[in-house]
Amino acid sequence: MLQDKLRVFSGGASGRTEVTMDDREAVRAARSGDEEAFAHLVRRHSGGLHRAVARILRDDTEAWDVVQMAFVRAWQRLDRYDERWSFATWLYRIGTNLAIDLLRSRASRERAHKAGTEHRLRVVGEPPGASDLADHREVDRLLDRLVGALTPQQRSAFVLREVEGMDTAEVAEVLGCSATTVRNHIFQARKVLRRELAREYPEYLPKSHRG
């Protein structure tokens, strides 16, 4: 378990090793007061962090605020960063926790309902079917609408693993839980999403599932 938690990412094919090593060098420089090195880290990771946080919060503007807060907090706690971890994972952990806190503190049900109504008004005419869906980014809006039905933990796990493409161990590190818990969150999330999809958007289901 400990080994899993302190894993150093080494996905050779994706060149991730090189990136994380550069991150560590930048962190070392930033620790000794090099602001430009930290700015380099912000430029490199803010886009990815924003994508994940925006999916979790379903709000682009709030997501940028969270990204900013996450980097400032990372700077303040730079001495606590353990180099055996990936900097990105550590940063995503800070950002995701901030997003989850925000999610818990705000009442977004009404907004979610409103967004859902608007979406349903747009979906008219011939059902597009799964094969066309990803091509015209309708799936992006569909995802945005449906993740609202998930709990903050389920939502974070699903977004990080299924949308951002992190593996289960990385998601476990970000969320501060075990890989088994992440799998459970994903399993529950899929269950809820299947139900919501069938209830609200049956036109997107395969013909055999429409009944």
Binding site: E35, R43, Q68, F71, L193, R194, P206
Partner: protein
Amino acid sequence: MNCETFEGLIEAYLADDLDDLRRRGFREHLGSCGTCRDKAVEADCSLILSAAPPRQDDAQKIEAVTQAVMGQIRQQRIERRLHRPRRRWLAAAAMVVVTLMGVTGWRLLSPDDGDDTTLAVVEAKAVERPAPPPRLEVDMAGEGVRVYQYADDDDGDTAVYFIVNPAMEL
């Protein structure tokens, strides 16, 4: 990854049984092949959401956030620098005040050591305490009565009169 391999991996993907490399290949194929996406959705309709296209990074926003973050960090550094000397100055001033109060208190409470100031205060109080001398004394001959008037110099309105039987005078 070809379509045949993809189809054989759908169940393994859902069960989280794929290694990192095959998982990435599966996701890439899911996003790019419409036919295989239909098959995957047939197996589990929630897989349609795993095929969400990656959002494009907004370079301008990223630069704006970078500037905002660095601005905030510099601001915090400046604030820390401004606070440090003030804290030291305040600490030094507090130490001086405490020392002065301690010395003064000790000197006031000390009973001897030939402190002139303390003695002068005590002597002055001792001088002020005795009652003022009688200002007026009337001996009413034949009546056997003496009248004394006591009055303070600072308070002309106050007067105390005693009528004393001379036989009883101490």
